[in-house]
Amino acid sequence: MKQLALVIDLNVCVGCHACVTSCKEWNTSGTAGSMSDFNPYDEDPTGTFFNRVQTFEIGEYPKTETVHFPKSCLHCEEPPCVPVCPTGASYKREEDGIVLVDYDKCIGCKYCSWACPYGARELDQEQKVMKKCTLCVDRIYDESLPEAERKPACVLACPTSARLFGDVKDPDSVVSENIRENGGYQLMPEWGTKPANHYLPRRKTRMTIHEDELTRIDNPLNKERQLPMPDEDEQTLDDVMSW
C-alpha cells in the first residue's frame, strides 16, 4: 500500500508562487496536452491551473500573521470525486494512490468538480475535460531524468523547500516523519475524505535567554584585570601610607 502525497510546510512557505508557475509550465508542455489560457493579455483573462498560492491574514490588526497557503488536489484516500464520475474517467491508482482523470474518457459533465469540497478540479475550456493535479505522474517515474529530479515540478521549484514529496504510508519517509513530528494535519477533516496531502502548521521558534547568560560568570579576566579605582571617600592603602 503506497500513497504518494505532498506535505506543505506553512511555516516555510513565503508565497512566491514559484510552485504555481512551474506547475503550469511543466503540465502545459506535458504529454497530457496544454492547460489552456484565454485572453491572457487582455481584459478578463482566464485559464486552467492545478496549483494556487493563496494568502490569509490570521488574527486582528495589529496582532496579525500572514499565512501563504498553496492549494492543489489533495489526492484523498477516500476521494469523493471518484465514485460520482459516470464514465470512470476519474480514478484513483491502486499502485500509488494518485487520483487521475482519463482525458479520453471524460465527458466534461463537471459532476466531479461539484463533489470535491476543496475546489481542486477545473474544466479546461479548450479540451472541455476536467483537469487536476497529477502529482506530475509523467515526471516522477521518468527514468530518463536523474533520480533527484523525479519529483513533482512544484517540489523542485520551491526555493524554501516548503514542499515535501513522498509516500505518506511509509513511516520512514521524510513526509511521514514531518507529519509525525511537526504536527501535520489534513484540510476539512469533517468530510471524511482523508486527504493524502498534509500541511505543517506555523511554528514559533523561540530561544529563552536569561540575564545571567548574557555575562560570563567564570570569566578568567575577573581575576587578572585591573581593579577599578576606589571611590574618593573610601579607604585605600594610600590613606594608610599617607605619612
Binding site: 493563496q54 490570521i58 489534513q186
Partner: protein
Amino acid sequence: MHPAFSVIFLTTLIGAGQGLFLALYTGQLYSVFNLVPGQSSHTFYGYGSLLALIFLVLGLISSVFHLGRPERAWRSAAMWRTSWLSREVIVLPAFMGMTFLYGVAHFMDYNPMLFSISDVFNVNLTLLLGAMATALAFLLFLCTGMIYACIKFLQEWATPLTVLNYTLLGAASGFTLATVFASYAGIQLAHFYAGWAIILTSIAFVTRMASLVRNSRIKPKSTMSSAIGIRHTKIQQKSRGFMAGSFNTREYFHNMPSIWFKSIKWVFPVLTFVLPVIILSSGMESNSFAIYAFAFVIQYVGLIAERWFFFAQANHPQNLYYQTI
C-alpha cells in the same frame, strides 16, 4: 452553485414528462376499477404517451448542452455501481423506451389479456407495461434527486427532501399538463386531473417550504479554520492567488445580485404553487383549455425559477477559498 440552464431544463422537462406519464397511468388504473370513465386508447393514452415522450426527449436534448464532450456521452452508463448520474443515464432511456411501448400498445389497440389475479383482476399488456414504466418513473425521480442529495458537503441538497421535492414537483407539473391535455382532447378526465394536480401541488408546496426552512437554519460544517487548518476564529483571505477569472470563480457562484436571489425566493413559490392552484381551481368551473394551459405555463415558469433557486442556494465549501481577489 452556478445554475446551468441545461440542467434546469433537463430536470423540469423530464419531471413534467414523468408526471404526465404517471397521470396517464393513474387515469387508466382508475378506469380499470370503473372509478372514472374509460378513455379511447388511441387518442388519449397513445397521444398522451407521445406528449410525455416529447417532454422527455426535449429534456434529454437539453442535457447534452451541459456536457463538454457530448460525443462521448455513451460512456456515462459505465459506472452505475457507484454514480447516481450514471444510473440516471440508464434509467432515463429505459423509462422512455417503456413509455414508448406503452404508447404504441395503446395506439395500435394491441392489448391482449396476459393473466388474471385470482380470477377477478385481469392484467392486460398495457397495464403491465404501464406498471413497469411507473416503477421506472419513480426510479428516475430517485436517481435525479440523489445526484444532488448524495453530495454530503452541499448541505442544502444533502437531505431526503431533495428526492421528495423532485418527485412531487415533477408529478405536480405532470398532472397539470395532463389536465391541459385532457381538456384539449375533450375528455371528461380534466376535472379528475385538475383535482389531483391541486392536491399534488399543495403537498409539494409543503415539502418545498420544509426544505426552505431547513436550509435557512443550516450551519455550515466547513469553516475558514477547517479549510486551511489554522485554529483561529479570525481568518481573513487577503488574496485568492490570482486576479483573473477561473473555473473556481464561475462554477460555484450564481453571480447575480443578492436582490435577484432574494426576490426569486419569493417569486418561485408564488409561480409554482400559489398561482397554479388558484388558476386550476378557477378553471375547473369553466373547464376551459386556455385557463388550464395558462396554469401549466405559469407553473412551468415557476419550476424554472424553483430550479434556479435550488442551485443558487447551494453553498459549496470550496467558496471559502475564493473570497477576495
